[in-house]
Amino acid sequence: MTTLDAKPADSGTGGAGVGPGTRATRVLGILTVISMGWLVLFGLVISPADVNQGESVRFFYIHAPAIWVAYTSFIVTAIASGAYLFSKKHSLGWDRLAGASAEIGVVFVALTLITGALWGRLTWGVFWQWDARLTTTSLLFVTYIGYLAVRRLGGSHLQRAKRSAVIGLLSVLLIPLVHWSVVIWRSLHQEATVLDTDLDPDIDGIMFFSIIVGLIAFSFFYAWFLLHRTRVLAMEDLMDDRGLDAALAARRAEAASAPQRSEGEGA
């Protein structure tokens, strides 16, 4: 795995103390804040009400980008899982990248479900329907909650990496099912507006621009979080290794002193 830049932004002492932030993550953080501000401006102020959906169309600017970023997160998880399983080196860096990406994916799926429920209440009159799209999206959410739970099971880092990589590769197969659920089954949920089959978005003008602003804002945040979280996971693994080393050393010291004690007691 590579970093976007080599030098930490606040290095200087050479000792412990540098967090996961670098110049690259700071730039990404600033871009995230600016683009989130633009999202609020376009989503809530500049974009007009829709002819059919009225003001509830404003949910669209966070709802659709949230699920796109979630899809991307899970695809990255699958790619990193594959890279871990099938590369000769079996680098744990791939495993940590997969885990970090899944974490943010789960958050964005949750946001998709919540904003979708709020939108549904305004448009359909109900928060929830056992509709094909809603049900498959919930299944996706629960599946990746399971993936994250499996990552927290006991065992070595290598065991964690192997079993979660297998699940990461299998779980991604749900994405086509979620995306095409509105086509496969009769659904209350509207068909894809932007990522449709003719690649001609059914939305244009300021509304289309607003949704792109949402996508850019969430993508910047995704990149920022991924870098930070991957580094935090690397530090957590290091701390685990240290704890294990300390426990092993204590155990060896105990074992070494045990015969001496028994000899002393025998005499």
Partner: protein, 48 residues
């Protein structure tokens, strides 16, 4: 505009929840990074 005020609670609530989730996630990962960063020598951090 009137419709906006009718639906404002839902719309603003949805946006607030989204930004709270994103902000909370960012705050958590920054705090974890700072805590762990103090305990680990810089030469063991691959990004330094």
């Amino acid at each position: 505009m009137l419709a906006f005020f009718d639906d404002a609670g839902f719309i603003l609530g949805g946006y607030l929840l989204t930004f709270a989730a994103v902000g909370g996630l960012a705050w958590r990962v920054i705090r974890q990074g700072k805590t762990l960063g103090e305990q680990i020598p810089d030469d063991e951090k691959y990004w330094t």
